[in-house]
């Protein structure tokens, strides 16, 4: 893991780590990479990926529009609202 890749990951995930956290994360990445090498010893070229542990597919429900919660209820936990809208900083300069 180089510093540029790490910075790219921070940007992608909207995070900014302190220098101490970065050093710890680098060590963490190193340990995970070291243990991952054990997986390479298993030949999985003829093994199918297992996405679901049980033979289930996502159930497709009837496409019926329902108003489960009111706008007011949905905005109860919002950090900032104004006349039914969620407030964010200006996005168009």
């Amino acid at each position: 893991m180089d510093k540029d890749t790490f910075r790219r990951l921070e940007l992608l995930n909207q995070l900014k780590l302190t220098e101490t956290e970065k050093a710890d994360a680098f060590a963490f990445f190193g340990s995970r990479e070291k243990e991952r090498l054990a997986l390479d010893k298993i030949d999985t070229s003829s093994v199918e990926r297992m996405v679901h542990v049980m033979p289930i597919m996502t159930v497709v429900r009837e496409d019926v529009a329902v108003q489960k919660f009111s706008r007011e209820a949905l905005q109860q936990g919002a950090p900032e609202t104004d006349e039914g809208y969620w407030c964010v900083p200006r996005v168009v300069e």
Partner: protein, 393 residues
């Protein structure tokens, strides 16, 4: 340091405490994170609805580690619970104090099985898809399960019987009826899974083995090196799923919002950076790296294939045996300073719990050890747990 994240002023002889990963409408749900501190859900978890419909009273919520994938809950935004110099788990403390008949928890990375094993309690992580995950805070959806912990196996069985069953609202809920198996006759003792355990756990395993044999169950030693790779693959899958699941927390519609920001990007970054803890941040970055174009095939795709290899290894074992016996943790307690020398303990101590997490197989912790069985053997594993409990009395 908090045992309850919320508590209702209710007394009941059918009191249940749920952990803070299950949504409730009368108490906040924080998932142990500053990001969701004080968050009130508009709907409740299906497991809670079913418990209430069957006469149980939800009397409070147990604190959890941030998004519940740590060792015992030590990464909670409320701090770790430490008693007599040892790390404790909130749900286990509630049960030990006899404040509830059972706790219902979201098992993501072995916390529930580990806590039960270390506190002489019983816990069942059911077959994936048999208990609805509707209304739980999502972390690692392909493996997490709503689980039950109690002071004894019979209560676990009763509560599991109430919350299990198909739910249309959960896309991964299995169709009913579930054909639960019963009767333990042959158990495989997975010797390869005993690496790293201390003397006390070793004694617990020997004692459980002896109890099974005394009750006419044949126990055979087995070595399976592939199963030992479970936590490496699970760490990859869990982190990748977690990275996606927590991407929704941005400080806009709900959750923590930073006070200081100059634009929308800084609002997102500052809110997430302030609210998320250290373990969560590095796990998000690790998961994101696994899903990157460079690593997707080499790491994430490989882990999915390894998941099948492990599942097939278990299928082979369960062709001959009814259950697999193995440790649930390396030691019966973690000292306060354990995490200083084992910073990544959540990613290493899950060596013992990841086999059940990655395969979706049911697991039961009892008498300080763990039994894993084939799909739908949940009740049979609890029967074996009862044998152990009877022997203890």
């Amino acid at each position: 340091m908090k045992i309850y994240s919320s508590k209702l002023d209710k007394k009941s002889d059918k009191a249940i405490v749920v952990d803070d990963m299950l949504l409730t409408v009368d108490m906040p749900t924080s998932a142990g994170s500053k990001m969701l501190d004080g968050y009130m859900s508009l709907f409740e978890a299906e497991a809670i609805t079913r418990l209430k419909a069957n006469g149980y009273d939800i009397v409070g919520k147990a604190d959890v580690g941030e998004f519940s994938f740590d060792l015992l809950g030590e990464t909670s935004c409320n701090g770790a619970i430490v008693k007599d110099g040892k790390l404790c788990n909130a749900s286990a403390e509630i049960l030990k104090a006899d404040e509830a008949v059972a706790t219902v928890n979201l098992e993501v990375n072995g916390t529930v099985i580990r806590a039960a094993a270390q506190n002489d309690l019983c816990a069942v992580k059911p077959t994936y898809g048999t208990v609805s995950r509707y209304g739980t805070v999502p972390v690692a959806c392909s493996g997490e399960c709503v689980s039950v912990m109690s002071r004894n196996a019979s209560v676990c069985r009763e509560v599991l019987g109430v919350i299990a069953g198909h739910d249309d609202k959960d896309g991964t809920s299995l169709p009913e009826p579930y054909e639960y198996t019963s009767g333990v006759r042959r158990v495989a003792f997975l010797k390869s899974m005993t690496q790293g355990i201390d003397g006390e756990i070793s004694e617990k395993l020997s004692s459980f083995k002896a109890t099974l044999e005394k009750n006419g169950v044949e126990v055979c030693e087995l070595d399976d090196e592939v199963i030992c790779l479970s936590n490496i693959a699970w760490n990859i899958l869990m982190s990748s799923e977690l990275c996606n699941n927590v991407s929704r927390y941005d400080g806009v519609k709900y959750g923590h919002r930073a006070e200081s920001f100059s634009g929308i990007d800084e609002l997102y970054t500052n809110s997430r950076t302030e609210a998320f803890g250290e373990l969560l941040k590095k796990t998000i970055l690790f998961g994101s790296d696994n899903l990157s174009t460079e690593n997707y095939m080499k790491v994430y795709d490989k882990a999915l294939r390894i998941r099948r290899v492990i599942s097939e290894a278990f299928a082979k074992i369960f062709g001959e045996f009814d259950a697999a016996l193995m440790p649930a943790c390396s030691t019966l307690s973690y000292g306060e300073d354990y995490l200083q020398s084992n910073k990544d303990a959540a990613f290493t101590e899950n060596f013992y719990t990841a086999p059940a997490s990655i395969t979706g197989l049911p697991a039961v912790a009892v008498g300080g050890i763990q039994l894993i069985g084939k799909a739908f053997s949940d009740m049979m594993l609890l029967e074996a747990a009862e044998l152990c409990e009877k022997e203890g009395k």
